[in-house]
Symmetry: D2
Subunit: 349 residues, 4 copies
């Protein structure tokens, strides 16, 4: 089969696209999945996949399930800098310098780290420390296509949102835009892949199995990102946000409990969400509270809104796949927009 696949890779699949996309940082879950999505994409070709720690190893050693015929390489701008675009999947802080170098070569970048998401530098430094490419700070467009599609289409540097902000902002956008949001409590639940591929006491099977645990209580890095973007949408709040680790691999749910300045009826909520979702191919408004399983391995965000008469609050439940819409496939969605393609290309649900 190796032969058949190699041929397919050269022929129909990898060579079919004219736009060469580099994946920098392909040994993590998100980077590896990005490599797979690019590898199968009809308009993109996988230029190279790099890894600092695993250079020289076939990507399929680490991720046999992705079936991508590529050997991880040390990043070398002389060889890789002629890519048309790049998805950068480096840790926070380490990403910025690489992004800067790629931008210097004219490579259009979607960056999966937090380095270009925040607009306030003091806030960034408070949560992440010194920035790795200060000259580019704030130069990125926030890559949530359902909000910033036009800006993304014109951008050379897109900051892919964090997984929790993605789900939370999609869940709350129609409410935030209404200007009626007073208080937001977000109780989030995530599968273990969100914690990354590095083995640790917290990701050991025995620690996670039959368990559920809150983490990052009062101090999760996605908080300022959520607040920044909720404010941009129209809700000036300090969000209560607590994620919980769950015994599953992929999938993320945000359960949002929103206090508003005026009562919302179910009809108003339904209308606001339907109108907002209209024309957005990856947003599904559903009547029954969704499970994370329903969006596994897709770029879809399913959302259920409930105006709760009993408490007067509005509840919103949204689910995404943290590795897909929360990372890799959203990066492809952004790349599609940046290259004038239908945003569903290669990531149809």
């Amino acid at each position: 089969m190796a032969g058949a696949r190699a041929q397919a890779a050269t022929g129909a699949t990898r060579g079919s696209g004219h736009t060469r996309v580099l994946v920098a940082g392909g040994s993590g879950y998100a980077g590896a999945l990005a490599a797979r999505l690019i590898d199968r994409h009809p308009a993109f070709a996988l230029h190279a996949v790099t890894s600092r720690s695993h250079a020289g190893r076939p990507l399929s050693d680490l991720y046999p399930q992705h079936r991508v015929d590529a050997v991880l390489e040390e990043l070398d701008l002389d060889r890789h800098g002629d890519a048309d675009a790049a998805i950068v999947a480096y840790p926070h802080g380490a990403a910025a310098p690489v992004v800067a170098q790629l931008r210097e070569r004219g490579v259009r970048v979607v960056d999966l780290s937090a380095d270009f998401r925040l607009r306030d530098r003091a806030t960034y430094e408070g949560w992440y420390g010194e920035h790795g490419a200060p000259e580019l700070f704030g130069a990125g467009v926030y890559g949530l296509p359902e909000v910033y599609a036009r800006e993304i289409a014109l951008a050379d540097l897109v900051a892919n949102p964090g997984c929790y902000p993605t789900a939370t902002l999609l869940a709350l956008a129609p409410l935030a835009r209404s200007g009626t949001v007073l208080d937001v409590v977000v109780d989030a639940k995530s599968g273990v892949s969100g914690a990354g591929r590095a083995p640790s006491a917290k990701t050991h099977f025995v620690a996670v199995d039959e368990n559920v645990t809150p983490y990052g209580v009062g101090a999760h890095r996605h908080m300022p990102e959520i607040d920044q973007e909720l404010a941009a949408l129209g809700a000036q709040v300090t969000t209560t946000f607590t994620p919980h680790l769950m015994p599953l691999d992929q999938g993320e749910m945000v359960s949002c409990y929103v206090t508003t300045s005026e009562p919302w009826s179910q009809a108003r909520a339904d209308e606001a969400y339907a109108e907002w979702a209209d024309g957005k191919p990856f947003v599904e408004i559903v009547a029954a509270p969704p499970g994370v399983r329903g969006v596994r391995d897709t770029n879809v965000c399913s959302i259920c809104v409930r105006a709760d008469e009993r408490t007067g609050k509005v509840f919103v439940f949204a689910v995404i796949d943290n590795l897909w819409k929360g990372a890799a496939s959203q990066a492809v969605q952004n790349l599609n927009l940046m290259h004038g393609l239908p945003e569903t290309t290669g990531i149809e649900p």
Copy 2:
């Protein structure tokens, strides 16, 4: 081994207690566990285990893991009515008439259903329909030993709390008593055993595995129970309460986000919780947010309180085993109190 165990059962274990306890409704998860706990209890003897649907079958057919040498019997008050006490594990509505019959015979009862938990009859009827023993409505003591130990000691009818109310009330008691609670959001997560033993589309492994789903949104039966008891403690609120089904078998977490009328410091929170927990053998105040795994197969409730400066809210995370502290072992704790025993007898953590 059967012989050895039968001997043990007659000798050291089942015959050792002088108080004969009937378990009525032993084919469900909670009833079966109650039978096991009574079977091993040093002061109680298992009088009989009844089941309407599985009479005639050994309990070990349904629950080999419990290793209780008992055959499920049809409930027969002539034979079973001479028990000293009973744990009734019938469904809501069906429990009340059985409880009434047992009380007529002078049997002291801990009832696991909701039939005697609520104090307002209209509220009961609104959520559960007509009551099955109206003459006894309101006659039960609410069986949360950490709050009502004295009343339970004197009671002949104890209404064992629901699993979610148990966790929520233990989590919030010190706050509620302070009189400063303005608003409560409880996001709850439960394992599948909470949904009962009956197979259904919702409890099918494939539906639950790799999934998390909200249920009972805006309409869960534990809501009025939580509000009633929070009010009794000092917090007059309409609680926002949403449970989620999680891919694990036993375990329940409540994540509580509380708005108060005045700011709480961490020091005040620590002091209030430490003071409240003092002398309560099953309440653990812990510094780091607990996982449900840490209380599996115990009667313990672990609680972490955080005064969150950023939002001004107080967060409380509490975990229990829904089948133990949320049902069967709490029933034994109540029986212990009713019989003047140390409340930890037979259920030491």
Copy 3:
């Protein structure tokens, strides 16, 4: 989004194929997945999806994750009999009459049941009872493309293999062809989706979670199918076969321990397997024992062979996704062959 998807369905996706494929029995896991695969297939169009028990309901009510815009219909040969081909996903026994009716109308059929897999009628009746369409008994081609590709291409009725036989035969084909097999022990492990969608005590989450249980010991219906096809390949054996239920949803492993009439070296094994796999796009020969996770949601079978010097036996470990290669995607692979398409069309790994 509903609008966008409906348009896509009419346009690019569902209408793009000229061959109309009926899925009869679309409410089970395999039938629903088959509907999804046909719906996205570039050369096939989904003609209709039928269900006896759920007619009238949108397929997405039962399987939101498949995102197929189709309403389940009662099977009506007047309306559905003009399909070009059909995948029949009925239970054993019930399938045969439906297959017969479809064949009368000239519809080419891939049948997922066991009704047309066995060649010996007494054997069939011994395991399954009376046959539902005796006139067609034995008329099907055994639909294992890696063995019978030519016959499948010409067939009008293909009997899709059982999931365990699929994995076992692919694992053992090179050994069986060598004529050296004396004894075969197959220890199989399967996820819960293999037990079907009907809720039962055995598929309840709490029964499966943290558990592993053998089932069908000494009496699993896949035994005669395995023996029949191993004999056809060259190994006349009575296979020892025991499946085990595992706490996962999709995935199946067969661990095969083979006694041979002459010693096999690792070199001979490697060569035999490499040669046999050559040109088979869904067979992967791997050096390290594979996990079921590596083939999830694919039509791939990964196989590792080990000539074990210590015991003199040959070990073979093979993994498939029981719903894909073990059922629905193998049906599509068969349909591809029947329609002269590359066998990977629409199910590329």
Copy 4:
């Protein structure tokens, strides 16, 4: 609650036993569980719990669920050498020198490592390398109480069996004693706790979840131990043994496929197993193949034997909890025998 528990520890629980037991190596799963079982044991007192890597930390930091009030200490023979007995839970190789030192002080030892299990030194060295206390090689009694109870009662050094040998030998003892065993295939399945507490790529939740993988194929260290003890029982075979990693935490199943020199009827099998199990409090012979869940958190081994007419083989399925009967509770069972106590003391099922 801390106060209540501390009191309990000093009073009823930890001080209640007169025999002081040291647990050396208490940071791993088995050592920590051993500490818990000793802590609750009516006849033993927990003398100390040591750890090289975590000295100074409360055991409850690592294992809150065990609720043992003990601080891990550096092993110091001057302070710890006056224990009456010790459970040593060190890695293979590292255990032997510690065991030797404890024996010099007169401490009776149950060793959980493989260092004293094998009787042939060349075999030991071939699998484990040089022995850490050659003068003691072979001095241990093989600690399988169901076979060597008398020898254990008199021993000062007991080698606790490996988890797989425990299950396999209990499964096969009656067959092995018959002298009719010709060939044995053991397909084993284990939960992740068997792989130990150290985080690694293989124990990462995402690697194990929804997966099953064979490991140690053809080269697992438990092989020589199984063969040695099967021979001692009467079966001179080279066992085919392959373990598989399963997505669960505790639990182990061995599925044994045995070829015999003469046919076994079910009646003969039933009689042989019933006779053998008679008087063994932790051996359960069951009619239906057991699941691992049925023995979770117990010292029980459940065994089902099937004389399979179709193949002429005898199948035996046995389940244990790998951390209990496969390690910690079996060590306590051995200690009970060594101290003249009923073997069920403190570990009643």
